[in-house]
Amino acid sequence: MKIGKDLVAASATPMVLAILSEGESYGYAILRRVDELSGGELQWTDGMLYPVLHRLERNGYVKATWGKAESGRRRKYYRITDRGSEELASQRQQWRVVDATLRATSFHPFQMVPQGI
Protein backbone atom coordinates (compact mmCIF):
# COMPACT_ATOMS: atom_id res chain seq x y z
CA MET A 1 0.00 0.00 0.00
CA LYS A 2 1.32 3.40 -0.94
CA ILE A 3 0.30 6.34 1.21
CA GLY A 4 -0.74 9.42 -0.77
CA LYS A 5 1.42 12.51 -1.06
CA ASP A 6 -1.04 14.77 0.75
CA LEU A 7 -1.41 12.43 3.69
CA VAL A 8 2.37 12.07 3.95
CA ALA A 9 2.72 15.84 4.00
CA ALA A 10 -0.04 16.28 6.56
CA SER A 11 1.37 13.64 8.84
CA ALA A 12 4.95 14.90 8.66
CA THR A 13 4.72 17.32 11.58
CA PRO A 14 3.27 14.94 14.19
CA MET A 15 5.51 12.16 12.93
CA VAL A 16 8.71 14.16 13.33
CA LEU A 17 7.63 15.54 16.70
CA ALA A 18 6.71 12.06 17.91
CA ILE A 19 10.09 10.67 16.91
CA LEU A 20 11.90 13.59 18.52
CA SER A 21 9.90 13.07 21.71
CA GLU A 22 11.81 9.79 22.00
CA GLY A 23 15.00 11.81 22.24
CA GLU A 24 17.38 14.09 20.36
CA SER A 25 17.99 13.03 16.78
CA TYR A 26 19.11 14.19 13.34
CA GLY A 27 17.67 14.14 9.85
CA TYR A 28 18.94 10.85 8.55
CA ALA A 29 18.15 9.01 11.79
CA ILE A 30 14.63 10.46 11.84
CA LEU A 31 14.01 9.07 8.37
CA ARG A 32 15.38 5.68 9.36
CA ARG A 33 13.06 5.67 12.35
CA VAL A 34 10.03 6.55 10.21
CA ASP A 35 10.95 3.70 7.91
CA GLU A 36 11.34 1.33 10.82
CA LEU A 37 8.13 2.32 12.61
CA SER A 38 5.97 2.21 9.49
CA GLY A 39 7.50 -1.02 8.27
CA GLY A 40 8.51 0.77 5.08
CA GLU A 41 4.94 1.81 4.31
CA LEU A 42 5.56 5.52 4.79
CA GLN A 43 7.88 6.66 2.02
CA TRP A 44 9.25 10.15 2.33
CA THR A 45 11.34 11.97 -0.20
CA ASP A 46 14.40 12.32 2.00
CA GLY A 47 15.20 15.93 1.16
CA MET A 48 11.72 17.15 2.03
CA LEU A 49 12.26 16.34 5.69
CA TYR A 50 14.63 19.27 6.05
CA PRO A 51 12.29 22.12 5.13
CA VAL A 52 9.83 20.51 7.59
CA LEU A 53 12.45 20.44 10.35
CA HIS A 54 13.37 24.05 9.66
CA ARG A 55 9.74 25.10 9.80
CA LEU A 56 9.31 23.33 13.11
CA GLU A 57 12.39 25.14 14.37
CA ARG A 58 11.00 28.48 13.26
CA ASN A 59 7.74 27.73 15.04
CA GLY A 60 9.68 26.90 18.18
CA TYR A 61 8.60 23.26 18.33
CA VAL A 62 12.13 21.97 18.05
CA LYS A 63 15.55 23.35 18.84
CA ALA A 64 18.51 22.70 16.58
CA THR A 65 22.17 22.56 17.55
CA TRP A 66 25.24 21.75 15.51
CA GLY A 67 27.26 18.89 16.88
CA LYS A 68 29.71 16.29 15.73
CA ALA A 69 28.86 12.87 14.37
CA GLU A 70 30.91 9.77 15.31
CA SER A 71 32.65 10.16 11.98
CA GLY A 72 33.73 13.67 12.92
CA ARG A 73 31.39 15.36 10.43
CA ARG A 74 29.33 18.35 11.42
CA ARG A 75 25.81 17.25 12.11
CA LYS A 76 22.67 19.18 13.04
CA TYR A 77 20.74 17.69 15.94
CA TYR A 78 17.14 18.44 16.78
CA ARG A 79 15.50 18.34 20.18
CA ILE A 80 11.79 18.76 20.93
CA THR A 81 10.81 21.78 23.05
CA ASP A 82 7.97 22.13 25.54
CA ARG A 83 5.93 23.91 22.93
CA GLY A 84 6.67 21.07 20.55
CA SER A 85 5.40 18.54 23.08
CA GLU A 86 2.20 20.52 23.49
CA GLU A 87 1.80 20.68 19.74
CA LEU A 88 2.38 16.95 19.46
CA ALA A 89 -0.30 16.26 22.09
CA SER A 90 -2.73 18.50 20.24
CA GLN A 91 -1.98 16.91 16.87
CA ARG A 92 -2.32 13.42 18.29
CA GLN A 93 -5.74 14.42 19.56
CA GLN A 94 -6.69 15.69 16.11
CA TRP A 95 -5.54 12.50 14.43
CA ARG A 96 -7.50 10.48 16.90
CA VAL A 97 -10.65 12.38 15.99
CA VAL A 98 -10.03 11.82 12.29
CA ASP A 99 -9.27 8.17 12.86
CA ALA A 100 -12.31 7.66 15.10
CA THR A 101 -14.56 9.36 12.59
CA LEU A 102 -13.35 7.12 9.81
CA ARG A 103 -13.88 4.05 11.95
CA ALA A 104 -17.39 5.09 12.88
CA THR A 105 -18.55 4.98 9.27
CA SER A 106 -20.07 1.76 8.09
CA PHE A 107 -17.84 1.77 5.03
CA HIS A 108 -15.62 -1.17 5.91
CA PRO A 109 -12.50 -0.68 3.78
CA PHE A 110 -11.60 2.30 5.94
CA GLN A 111 -10.97 -0.02 8.82
CA MET A 112 -7.71 -0.79 7.12
CA VAL A 113 -6.41 2.62 8.11
CA PRO A 114 -3.31 2.02 10.22
CA GLN A 115 -3.94 2.39 13.92
CA GLY A 116 -2.58 5.19 16.06
CA ILE A 117 0.67 6.97 15.54
Binding site: Y28, G47, P51, H54, A69, R74, K76
Partner: protein, 404 residues
Amino acid sequence: MLDERIAEWRSYLRRGQAIHQVDVDELEDHLRSQVADLKEAGLDEDEAFLIAVKRIGDLEALSREFASEYSERLWKRLVLATDAGESGVGWNREALVAVGLAVAAGVAIKIPELFGVHLNGPDRDVSFYIRNFSLFVLPFLAGFFAWKRGMEFAGRLWLMAPFMAAALVMNLFPFTPEGHTELLAALHLPMALWLTVGVAYAGGAWRDHDQRMNYVRFSGEWFIYFALIALGGGVLMGTTMFIFGAIGLDAEFLLNEWILPCGVMGAVIIAGWLVEAKQSVIENMAPVLTLLFTPLFTLVLLAFLGTMVWTGSAIDVEREVLIGFDLLLVVVVGLLLYAISARDPQAEPGAFDGVQLVYALDYESGGAAAANSGPHGVEHGDQVLGIDAADAPEAGRADRARRT
Protein backbone atom coordinates in the same frame (compact mmCIF):
# COMPACT_ATOMS: atom_id res chain seq x y z
CA MET B 1 35.95 10.17 -6.01
CA LEU B 2 32.99 10.38 -3.70
CA ASP B 3 34.18 13.74 -2.39
CA GLU B 4 34.38 15.02 -5.93
CA ARG B 5 30.86 13.95 -6.76
CA ILE B 6 29.56 15.38 -3.53
CA ALA B 7 31.29 18.67 -4.24
CA GLU B 8 29.59 18.72 -7.64
CA TRP B 9 26.25 17.94 -6.07
CA ARG B 10 26.78 20.69 -3.51
CA SER B 11 27.55 23.32 -6.11
CA TYR B 12 24.44 22.29 -8.01
CA LEU B 13 22.38 22.65 -4.86
CA ARG B 14 23.88 26.03 -4.06
CA ARG B 15 22.75 27.40 -7.39
CA GLY B 16 19.19 27.26 -6.13
CA GLN B 17 20.00 30.28 -3.92
CA ALA B 18 17.22 29.49 -1.47
CA ILE B 19 19.33 26.76 0.06
CA HIS B 20 22.10 28.21 2.16
CA GLN B 21 25.51 26.83 2.83
CA VAL B 22 24.54 25.50 6.27
CA ASP B 23 21.50 23.73 4.87
CA VAL B 24 23.66 22.18 2.20
CA ASP B 25 26.00 21.01 4.97
CA GLU B 26 23.08 19.36 6.67
CA LEU B 27 21.95 17.70 3.46
CA GLU B 28 25.48 16.56 2.79
CA ASP B 29 25.61 14.87 6.18
CA HIS B 30 22.41 13.09 5.23
CA LEU B 31 23.82 12.06 1.87
CA ARG B 32 27.00 10.72 3.40
CA SER B 33 25.11 8.79 6.10
CA GLN B 34 22.94 7.23 3.42
CA VAL B 35 25.92 6.35 1.25
CA ALA B 36 27.69 4.77 4.21
CA ASP B 37 24.64 2.65 5.07
CA LEU B 38 24.15 1.55 1.49
CA LYS B 39 27.80 0.60 1.19
CA GLU B 40 27.49 -1.44 4.32
CA ALA B 41 24.56 -3.20 2.68
CA GLY B 42 26.94 -4.26 -0.07
CA LEU B 43 26.58 -1.61 -2.79
CA ASP B 44 29.64 -0.04 -4.34
CA GLU B 45 30.31 3.64 -3.91
CA ASP B 46 28.90 4.75 -7.25
CA GLU B 47 25.65 2.89 -6.81
CA ALA B 48 25.35 4.07 -3.24
CA PHE B 49 25.86 7.67 -4.28
CA LEU B 50 23.32 7.47 -7.08
CA ILE B 51 20.66 5.93 -4.88
CA ALA B 52 21.33 8.38 -2.04
CA VAL B 53 21.02 11.34 -4.40
CA LYS B 54 17.83 9.94 -5.85
CA ARG B 55 16.32 9.42 -2.41
CA ILE B 56 16.98 13.04 -1.46
CA GLY B 57 14.68 13.82 -4.32
CA ASP B 58 14.23 16.38 -7.03
CA LEU B 59 16.48 19.30 -6.19
CA GLU B 60 14.25 21.81 -7.97
CA ALA B 61 11.33 20.81 -5.80
CA LEU B 62 13.55 20.89 -2.73
CA SER B 63 14.74 24.38 -3.65
CA ARG B 64 11.16 25.52 -4.00
CA GLU B 65 10.32 24.01 -0.64
CA PHE B 66 13.23 25.84 0.99
CA ALA B 67 12.29 29.02 -0.84
CA SER B 68 8.76 28.98 0.52
CA GLU B 69 10.06 28.23 4.01
CA TYR B 70 12.61 31.04 3.76
CA SER B 71 10.96 33.56 1.49
CA GLU B 72 12.98 36.30 3.16
CA ARG B 73 16.17 34.75 1.85
CA LEU B 74 15.34 35.65 -1.69
CA TRP B 75 14.71 39.18 -0.57
CA LYS B 76 17.92 39.27 1.41
CA ARG B 77 19.87 38.63 -1.72
CA LEU B 78 19.08 42.19 -2.68
CA VAL B 79 20.94 43.46 0.35
CA LEU B 80 24.64 44.04 0.05
CA ALA B 81 25.63 41.92 3.05
CA THR B 82 26.62 38.36 2.26
CA ASP B 83 24.99 35.62 4.22
CA ALA B 84 26.94 34.28 7.11
CA GLY B 85 27.58 30.82 5.75
CA GLU B 86 28.92 32.01 2.45
CA SER B 87 32.58 32.57 1.84
CA GLY B 88 32.04 36.16 0.86
CA VAL B 89 35.62 37.28 0.30
CA GLY B 90 35.55 37.54 -3.48
CA TRP B 91 32.13 39.05 -3.35
CA ASN B 92 33.13 41.72 -0.92
CA ARG B 93 36.20 42.62 -2.84
CA GLU B 94 34.17 43.01 -5.98
CA ALA B 95 31.81 45.34 -4.14
CA LEU B 96 34.73 47.37 -2.86
CA VAL B 97 36.30 47.65 -6.29
CA ALA B 98 32.97 48.66 -7.83
CA VAL B 99 32.25 51.29 -5.21
CA GLY B 100 35.83 52.53 -5.43
CA LEU B 101 35.58 52.90 -9.20
CA ALA B 102 32.21 54.62 -8.86
CA VAL B 103 33.74 57.13 -6.49
CA ALA B 104 36.69 57.54 -8.83
CA ALA B 105 34.35 58.26 -11.74
CA GLY B 106 32.45 60.75 -9.58
CA VAL B 107 35.71 62.49 -8.71
CA ALA B 108 37.00 62.36 -12.28
CA ILE B 109 34.13 64.41 -13.61
CA LYS B 110 35.10 67.16 -11.13
CA ILE B 111 38.75 67.26 -12.20
CA PRO B 112 38.23 69.64 -15.15
CA GLU B 113 36.91 72.15 -12.62
CA LEU B 114 40.42 72.39 -11.22
CA PHE B 115 41.59 73.57 -14.63
CA GLY B 116 38.93 76.20 -14.87
CA VAL B 117 36.49 74.27 -17.05
CA HIS B 118 33.21 74.82 -15.27
CA LEU B 119 29.98 72.91 -15.60
CA ASN B 120 27.91 75.72 -14.12
CA GLY B 121 28.24 79.41 -13.62
CA PRO B 122 28.71 82.34 -15.97
CA ASP B 123 31.90 81.09 -17.65
CA ARG B 124 30.72 77.52 -18.05
CA ASP B 125 31.90 75.32 -20.89
CA VAL B 126 28.99 72.96 -21.35
CA SER B 127 30.22 71.88 -24.75
CA PHE B 128 33.35 70.38 -23.18
CA TYR B 129 31.23 68.27 -20.85
CA ILE B 130 28.82 67.21 -23.57
CA ARG B 131 31.70 66.05 -25.73
CA ASN B 132 33.63 64.30 -23.00
CA PHE B 133 31.28 63.00 -20.31
CA SER B 134 31.47 59.39 -21.46
CA LEU B 135 35.26 59.55 -21.31
CA PHE B 136 35.05 60.26 -17.61
CA VAL B 137 33.09 57.16 -16.75
CA LEU B 138 33.27 54.37 -19.33
CA PRO B 139 37.00 53.78 -18.87
CA PHE B 140 36.22 52.97 -15.23
CA LEU B 141 33.49 50.56 -16.24
CA ALA B 142 35.84 48.94 -18.76
CA GLY B 143 38.47 48.83 -16.02
CA PHE B 144 36.03 47.08 -13.70
CA PHE B 145 35.41 44.32 -16.21
CA ALA B 146 39.08 44.10 -17.18
CA TRP B 147 39.79 43.52 -13.50
CA LYS B 148 36.93 41.14 -12.96
CA ARG B 149 37.67 39.00 -16.00
CA GLY B 150 41.36 39.05 -15.16
CA MET B 151 42.39 40.44 -18.52
CA GLU B 152 46.06 40.33 -19.33
CA PHE B 153 48.20 43.40 -19.15
CA ALA B 154 48.55 43.67 -22.93
CA GLY B 155 44.78 43.38 -23.30
CA ARG B 156 44.24 46.17 -20.81
CA LEU B 157 46.71 48.32 -22.65
CA TRP B 158 44.88 47.75 -25.91
CA LEU B 159 41.66 48.57 -24.15
CA MET B 160 42.96 52.02 -23.33
CA ALA B 161 43.69 52.81 -26.96
CA PRO B 162 40.09 53.54 -28.04
CA PHE B 163 39.57 55.81 -25.06
CA MET B 164 42.77 57.70 -25.81
CA ALA B 165 41.89 58.01 -29.48
CA ALA B 166 38.40 59.22 -28.61
CA ALA B 167 39.78 61.76 -26.16
CA LEU B 168 42.12 63.11 -28.81
CA VAL B 169 39.49 63.31 -31.53
CA MET B 170 36.88 64.85 -29.28
CA ASN B 171 39.19 67.56 -28.08
CA LEU B 172 41.42 68.30 -31.07
CA PHE B 173 38.81 68.20 -33.80
CA PRO B 174 37.81 71.76 -34.73
CA PHE B 175 34.13 71.49 -33.79
CA THR B 176 31.99 74.55 -34.33
CA PRO B 177 30.70 75.34 -30.83
CA GLU B 178 27.19 73.91 -30.39
CA GLY B 179 27.23 72.76 -34.01
CA HIS B 180 25.58 69.65 -35.28
CA THR B 181 28.82 67.77 -35.80
CA GLU B 182 29.64 68.24 -32.17
CA LEU B 183 26.22 67.07 -31.09
CA LEU B 184 26.34 64.00 -33.31
CA ALA B 185 29.84 63.15 -32.18
CA ALA B 186 28.81 63.56 -28.54
CA LEU B 187 25.77 61.33 -29.11
CA HIS B 188 27.69 58.56 -30.79
CA LEU B 189 30.81 58.55 -28.70
CA PRO B 190 29.13 56.81 -25.72
CA MET B 191 27.82 54.12 -28.07
CA ALA B 192 31.22 53.53 -29.63
CA LEU B 193 32.85 53.48 -26.20
CA TRP B 194 30.11 51.19 -24.93
CA LEU B 195 31.36 48.66 -27.46
CA THR B 196 34.84 49.09 -26.07
CA VAL B 197 33.43 48.32 -22.63
CA GLY B 198 31.96 45.23 -24.30
CA VAL B 199 35.45 44.06 -25.20
CA ALA B 200 36.38 44.28 -21.54
CA TYR B 201 33.10 42.62 -20.56
CA ALA B 202 33.97 39.67 -22.78
CA GLY B 203 37.41 39.59 -21.19
CA GLY B 204 38.89 40.33 -24.61
CA ALA B 205 37.04 37.44 -26.27
CA TRP B 206 34.70 39.73 -28.17
CA ARG B 207 34.78 37.54 -31.22
CA ASP B 208 32.88 34.91 -29.30
CA HIS B 209 29.25 34.92 -30.34
CA ASP B 210 27.91 33.97 -26.90
CA GLN B 211 29.93 36.66 -25.22
CA ARG B 212 28.53 39.27 -27.56
CA MET B 213 24.98 38.14 -26.88
CA ASN B 214 25.74 38.20 -23.17
CA TYR B 215 26.89 41.75 -23.58
CA VAL B 216 23.65 42.67 -25.32
CA ARG B 217 21.77 41.18 -22.38
CA PHE B 218 24.07 42.98 -19.98
CA SER B 219 23.36 46.26 -21.76
CA GLY B 220 19.61 45.82 -21.41
CA GLU B 221 19.85 44.88 -17.76
CA TRP B 222 22.31 47.68 -17.13
CA PHE B 223 19.84 50.13 -18.62
CA ILE B 224 17.10 48.96 -16.29
CA TYR B 225 19.32 49.21 -13.23
CA PHE B 226 20.52 52.62 -14.32
CA ALA B 227 16.94 53.81 -14.78
CA LEU B 228 16.03 52.51 -11.32
CA ILE B 229 19.02 54.23 -9.73
CA ALA B 230 18.16 57.42 -11.62
CA LEU B 231 14.65 57.21 -10.21
CA GLY B 232 16.02 56.92 -6.69
CA GLY B 233 18.48 59.72 -7.44
CA GLY B 234 15.62 61.95 -8.53
CA VAL B 235 13.88 61.37 -5.22
CA LEU B 236 17.14 62.07 -3.40
CA MET B 237 17.59 65.37 -5.22
CA GLY B 238 14.00 66.42 -4.66
CA THR B 239 14.37 65.67 -0.96
CA THR B 240 17.65 67.58 -0.80
CA MET B 241 16.07 70.65 -2.36
CA PHE B 242 13.11 70.41 -0.03
CA ILE B 243 14.91 69.98 3.28
CA PHE B 244 17.47 72.68 2.54
CA GLY B 245 14.70 74.92 1.27
CA ALA B 246 12.92 74.39 4.58
CA ILE B 247 15.79 76.02 6.46
CA GLY B 248 16.01 78.82 3.92
CA LEU B 249 18.97 77.57 1.86
CA ASP B 250 18.97 77.07 -1.87
CA ALA B 251 20.61 73.71 -2.48
CA GLU B 252 20.62 74.07 -6.21
CA PHE B 253 24.39 74.45 -6.42
CA LEU B 254 24.74 71.23 -4.44
CA LEU B 255 22.61 69.44 -6.99
CA ASN B 256 24.16 70.91 -10.10
CA GLU B 257 27.73 70.81 -8.90
CA TRP B 258 27.88 67.56 -7.02
CA ILE B 259 24.92 65.23 -6.69
CA LEU B 260 23.88 65.26 -10.32
CA PRO B 261 27.22 64.96 -12.17
CA CYS B 262 28.96 62.73 -9.62
CA GLY B 263 25.82 60.69 -9.06
CA VAL B 264 25.29 59.96 -12.74
CA MET B 265 28.90 58.93 -13.19
CA GLY B 266 28.84 56.71 -10.13
CA ALA B 267 25.50 55.19 -11.11
CA VAL B 268 26.93 53.99 -14.42
CA ILE B 269 29.51 51.89 -12.58
CA ILE B 270 27.19 50.75 -9.81
CA ALA B 271 24.56 49.68 -12.34
CA GLY B 272 27.21 47.67 -14.20
CA TRP B 273 28.32 46.00 -11.00
CA LEU B 274 24.76 45.29 -9.86
CA VAL B 275 23.96 43.55 -13.13
CA GLU B 276 26.92 41.29 -12.48
CA ALA B 277 26.32 40.74 -8.77
CA LYS B 278 22.55 40.64 -8.65
CA GLN B 279 21.78 39.44 -12.10
CA SER B 280 19.12 37.02 -11.02
CA VAL B 281 17.06 39.88 -9.64
CA ILE B 282 16.64 41.62 -12.94
CA GLU B 283 17.05 38.87 -15.50
CA ASN B 284 13.43 37.90 -15.18
CA MET B 285 12.29 41.47 -15.55
CA ALA B 286 14.25 42.58 -18.58
CA PRO B 287 12.66 40.20 -21.10
CA VAL B 288 9.24 41.07 -19.72
CA LEU B 289 9.87 44.77 -20.24
CA THR B 290 11.13 44.06 -23.73
CA LEU B 291 8.03 42.05 -24.46
CA LEU B 292 5.92 44.91 -23.15
CA PHE B 293 7.58 47.73 -25.03
CA THR B 294 8.47 46.06 -28.29
CA PRO B 295 4.87 45.97 -29.56
CA LEU B 296 4.33 49.55 -28.42
CA PHE B 297 7.39 50.79 -30.24
CA THR B 298 6.34 48.73 -33.23
CA LEU B 299 2.97 50.45 -33.32
CA VAL B 300 4.59 53.86 -33.15
CA LEU B 301 7.07 52.98 -35.86
CA LEU B 302 4.38 51.53 -38.12
CA ALA B 303 2.32 54.66 -37.64
CA PHE B 304 5.38 56.70 -38.43
CA LEU B 305 6.11 54.68 -41.57
CA GLY B 306 2.52 54.99 -42.67
CA THR B 307 2.53 58.71 -42.15
CA MET B 308 5.79 59.06 -43.97
CA VAL B 309 4.50 57.16 -46.99
CA TRP B 310 1.14 58.96 -46.86
CA THR B 311 2.56 62.45 -46.82
CA GLY B 312 5.69 61.61 -48.81
CA SER B 313 7.47 64.14 -46.69
CA ALA B 314 10.51 62.11 -45.68
CA ILE B 315 12.86 64.34 -47.60
CA ASP B 316 11.66 67.55 -46.03
CA VAL B 317 12.61 66.78 -42.46
CA GLU B 318 14.87 69.17 -40.68
CA ARG B 319 18.26 68.10 -39.55
CA GLU B 320 17.30 68.36 -35.88
CA VAL B 321 14.60 65.84 -36.61
CA LEU B 322 17.13 63.64 -38.32
CA ILE B 323 19.30 63.60 -35.25
CA GLY B 324 16.27 62.56 -33.26
CA PHE B 325 15.61 59.92 -35.88
CA ASP B 326 19.15 58.75 -35.49
CA LEU B 327 18.50 58.17 -31.80
CA LEU B 328 15.29 56.36 -32.61
CA LEU B 329 17.27 53.96 -34.76
CA VAL B 330 19.54 53.30 -31.81
CA VAL B 331 16.51 52.49 -29.67
CA VAL B 332 15.18 50.16 -32.34
CA VAL B 333 18.49 48.39 -32.74
CA GLY B 334 18.73 48.11 -28.97
CA LEU B 335 15.29 46.59 -28.60
CA LEU B 336 15.78 44.33 -31.57
CA LEU B 337 19.11 43.00 -30.39
CA TYR B 338 17.90 42.65 -26.85
CA ALA B 339 14.74 40.84 -27.86
CA ILE B 340 16.79 38.44 -29.95
CA SER B 341 19.23 37.86 -27.14
CA ALA B 342 16.36 37.06 -24.77
CA ARG B 343 14.78 34.69 -27.25
CA ASP B 344 14.87 31.00 -26.44
CA PRO B 345 16.97 29.52 -29.24
CA GLN B 346 14.89 26.34 -29.18
CA ALA B 347 11.56 28.13 -29.56
CA GLU B 348 9.58 28.03 -32.78
CA PRO B 349 9.24 31.32 -34.64
CA GLY B 350 6.18 33.10 -33.30
CA ALA B 351 4.25 36.34 -33.60
CA PHE B 352 6.90 38.14 -31.61
CA ASP B 353 9.50 37.31 -34.21
CA GLY B 354 7.18 38.79 -36.79
CA VAL B 355 7.18 41.99 -34.81
CA GLN B 356 10.95 41.93 -34.83
CA LEU B 357 10.93 41.50 -38.56
CA VAL B 358 8.84 44.65 -38.80
CA TYR B 359 11.52 46.28 -36.72
CA ALA B 360 14.27 45.22 -39.01
CA LEU B 361 12.30 46.50 -42.00
CA ASP B 362 11.63 49.72 -40.22
CA TYR B 363 15.26 50.02 -39.40
CA GLU B 364 16.18 49.66 -43.04
CA SER B 365 13.59 52.08 -44.32
CA GLY B 366 14.46 54.48 -41.55
CA GLY B 367 18.04 54.33 -42.64
CA ALA B 368 16.98 54.89 -46.23
CA ALA B 369 14.86 57.87 -45.27
CA ALA B 370 17.76 59.36 -43.40
CA ALA B 371 20.05 58.69 -46.35
CA ASN B 372 17.65 60.50 -48.66
CA SER B 373 17.83 63.47 -46.43
CA GLY B 374 21.58 63.42 -46.33
CA PRO B 375 22.35 65.97 -49.03
CA HIS B 376 19.54 68.14 -47.79
CA GLY B 377 21.02 68.07 -44.34
CA VAL B 378 24.40 69.14 -45.57
CA GLU B 379 22.86 72.03 -47.45
CA HIS B 380 21.27 73.19 -44.26
CA GLY B 381 24.32 72.61 -42.15
CA ASP B 382 26.75 75.26 -41.19
CA GLN B 383 29.69 73.06 -42.06
CA VAL B 384 30.31 70.42 -44.67
CA LEU B 385 32.28 67.85 -42.79
CA GLY B 386 30.86 64.70 -44.20
CA ILE B 387 30.65 63.12 -40.78
CA ASP B 388 27.16 64.51 -40.24
CA ALA B 389 25.77 63.22 -43.47
CA ALA B 390 27.48 59.90 -43.04
CA ASP B 391 26.20 59.51 -39.52
CA ALA B 392 22.49 59.59 -40.07
CA PRO B 393 22.03 56.75 -42.54
CA GLU B 394 24.52 54.50 -40.87
CA ALA B 395 23.29 54.99 -37.34
CA GLY B 396 23.63 51.77 -35.38
CA ARG B 397 25.73 50.01 -37.98
CA ALA B 398 28.23 52.80 -37.98
CA ASP B 399 28.36 52.68 -34.20
CA ARG B 400 29.43 49.11 -34.35
CA ALA B 401 32.03 49.82 -36.97
CA ARG B 402 33.43 52.90 -35.30
CA ARG B 403 34.78 51.00 -32.37
CA THR B 404 37.74 53.31 -31.90
